[in-house]
């Protein structure tokens, strides 16, 4: 393990804001994409069921 | 000889017709009839290769038109739903321009003769096409038939907005084309006044 303490890890040597923003936005984008797809699929499946 | 083999057509996600087989021999005419939206125009556009069929093929002298491409176009005169006439040009300029594209160089008198054959008087030859009536503009487009030396004619509703006199003129021209060994496919909702032994009829029930 490279880090000495938890707070050191969060601070990222003073660049915490930049580093964590990058990681969090990336995570949010990926999660949002998965959720959006899940909903799109549910909607498409529901429409198809209504037809048959 | 023009053959449609097992043609199926889909527009958007709508299936218009399935498995159409038809052969047009030299000297004969195929009329395509059917209700609105039955795919008459699509059928004709497939014959021009503008539209690709969902399945099947169109053969010209036994060869697929998709392979022949420009060789096929050299045999073809197509007058579509749209006139293909520029509003800002005069009838004479329009015909000269389209003849220039096909590589036929027609003299000015020849073009004027063609316009007169379709019943357009000399005084309108020098007017911009936009001041002409709908029927007159259609006749400018159809005047190409008098200049065409191509064996295959594909016409989409050639008689729309024509009066009886011009309809007769166009029919006459069609007849002489067929007599000369030409082929024609005409999409129409009215009868073509030609002897029934040269006419074949295709009905599309969309």
């Amino acid at each position: 393990m490279y880090w000495g303490s938890m707070s050191e890890f969060w601070a990222m040597g003073g660049y915490g804001l930049y580093v964590w923003t990058s990681y969090i936005v990336t995570a949010l984008c990926l999660v949002w994409e998965v959720l959006a797809l899940w909903r799109r699929r549910a909607a498409a499946a529901a429409e198809n069921r209504g037809l048959l | 000889m023009l053959q449609a083999v097992a043609l199926s057509c889909m527009r958007g996600e709508r299936r218009l017709f399935v498995d159409v087989n038809v052969t047009v021999e030299p000297g004969t005419l195929l009329t395509v009839v059917g209700e609105n939206g039955s795919g008459k125009t699509s059928f004709l556009r497939i014959l021009t290769s503008l539209l690709s069929p969902e399945a099947g093929a169109v053969l010209w002298q036994g060869q697929d038109i998709r392979q022949l491409k420009e060789q096929y176009y050299a045999q073809l005169t197509y007058i579509g739903h749209l006139n293909g006439v520029k509003d800002d040009l005069t009838p004479v300029e329009n015909l000269m321009a389209s003849a220039g594209l096909t590589g036929d160089h027609h003299s000015n008198p020849l073009v004027q003769d063609a316009l007169e054959s379709v019943g357009l008087k000399r005084m309108v030859h020098r007017l911009p096409t936009k001041v002409l009536s709908q029927g007159q503009r259609r006749r400018v487009a159809l005047a190409r038939l008098w200049l065409s030396t191509h064996p295959l004619w594909l016409l989409d509703e050639p008689f729309t907005s024509l009066d009886t006199a011009s309809t007769a003129l166009v029919t006459e021209r069609l007849q002489s084309h067929l007599r000369g060994g030409g082929l024609a496919v005409v999409v129409t909702h009215q009868e073509v006044a030609l002897p029934s032994d040269v006419i074949q009829r295709l009905r599309l029930n969309g």
Binding site: G13, Y15, V25, C29, A44, N48 | A6, E13, R203
Partner: protein, 250 residues
Amino acid sequence: MGINWLKYSAPQAFYPLAGKLIPWFSIVAALAIAVGLYIGLLVAPTDFQQGESYRIIFVHVPAAWMSMFLYVVMALWAGFGMGLNARLSFMMAQAIAPTGAMFTFLALLTGAMWGKPTWGAWWVWDARLTSELILLFQYAGVMLLRTSIDDLRRADRASGVFALVGVVNVPIIYFSVKWWNTLHQGASVSMTGGSKMAATMLTAMLLMTFGFWMYSMAVILSRSRCVILEREQLLSWNKSASTPEPVEVR
């Protein structure tokens, strides 16, 4: 009936196959990203020149690689689609575009996050960033062109042509900006900062890239399933609305 079932069998066979593959890709993606994050954030030592801010590259570089890779793959599918007249190819191309655009956006954003502490500016007109920006515009163009054309077949093909043209454009932009920078000020900026990468860093980056790749596979397969559903829906609706009758010739 003379329907060419071969063409339809493709999406219909593909649909369940994709359904089976998605969980596997998802699991592999989650594992690779988890291990990549662990190594990148917890194990990898700090970079002497850039300090801790360099850790952004573990998301930035994979996102940038994926954005370009996905564009090429999208164009390839569109090209196949036009060459073979295959509907499934176009569906794949359609499914790839949003994910590619998202990675492009992420690459730009994380690039700015990295640039601010490193160069002191959010944005620098260097070759990589500029071509990434243009790539985003091209993704937008592909998607907008598709949505503004109603006829599906035409939408597929038109956006495919544009995607293919774009494949030629992006490398040209990359080199043009590069030459432009060297011809002008010579103020060339290099992304790596000249530092040799430690083995742990490289491992983390490659793992993250692999994870993003697998994630893209899962998401794209799942989106292509949606696309198939949506398109089949239109088809079945129209089938029931109008059944074509045989044609008579006399």
